[in-house]
Amino acid sequence: MLPVPLSYYLVLAGILFTLGVFGVIIARNVIVTLMSVELMLNAANLLLVVFARVHGDLGGQVMVFFVLTVAAAEAAVGLSILVAIFRRKGSIDVDRLNILKG
């Protein structure tokens, strides 16, 4: 049996996902934006694990593994873009990145 009702987990994941969305909207620098994306991925991970447990199907836990891989790739590419931007512009303020030509 689950330790608490299923809806508690769903609401917790909803809160974490919403905080991630909120962070992406209001973040002042790109690092916090990337971390908010990680928050959203983790909310999805929590739901995958919860429903793997509810249905007794390990597919959900395997999906968490894939999400982890995607998160690692996203962090690596995102942070190297960040380093490239910082080298060129000397700032990581998303509002100052307003031209297409690097």
Binding site: S7, V11, L19, R28, F66, A76, L79
Partner: protein, 177 residues
């Protein structure tokens, strides 16, 4: 006791997540995100996902977050480089949008009933997850190697130091000589 662990982990995760977003210091933000990840790992343990919980701590908190921390320290941002104030009203709009999303999800989710089946012996351990991963999910698992290769190549190409076309030519000349 189970409920107590859930509430502690959930409250810690939410408070740390809020602080990730609102703290000014990026290093402290990264450390708070690690707290969120560990709190979620506790919840995973409770849901008989031992292997995923271990992955969460070792790979997520141990590797990905250290990468974040490394980049934050390498950039060595001063206070004024964290960016100017955003467009006026973006905070209000963001709060409204995120609040509406949260309300929708709470309304959708709060009617759910707990219908968990009793978990079989060894559910979520290394053996059973490994069998699933290399059994039915073998092809997607192999595809992740392509994804990681692409990410490694992208990171190396993007982070390569080059200050202009002249330097690139010099580097090439140097390599030939």
């Amino acid at each position: 006791m189970d409920q107590f662990i859930f509430w502690v982990a959930a409250i810690v995760a939410v408070i740390a997540a809020v602080r990730v977003i609102f703290l000014k210091n990026a290093i402290v933000s990264v450390l708070h995100l690690i707290v969120v990840l560990v709190a979620l790992a506790v919840l995973f343990l409770q849901l008989s996902a031992e292997f995923v919980a271990a992955l969460q701590v070792i790979i997520y908190a141990g590797a990905i977050m250290v990468l974040f921390l490394f980049i934050v320290m390498m950039l060595n941002l001063r206070k004024d480089e964290f960016g100017s104030d955003r467009l006026p009203g973006i905070g209000v709009l963001g709060t409204l949008a995120a609040g509406a999303l949260l309300g929708e999800m709470v309304i959708l989710f709060s009617g759910e009933q707990s219908v968990a089946v009793p978990s079989p012996e060894g559910f979520g351990g290394v053996r059973s997850v490994g069998r699933a991963l290399f059994g039915g999910y073998l092809f997607p698992f192999e595809l992740t190697s392509l994804l990681l290769l692409a990410a490694v190549l992208a990171a190396v190409v993007l982070a390569r130091r080059r200050s202009g076309a002249g330097t690139t030519a010099q580097t090439h000349g140097g390599r030939e000589a």
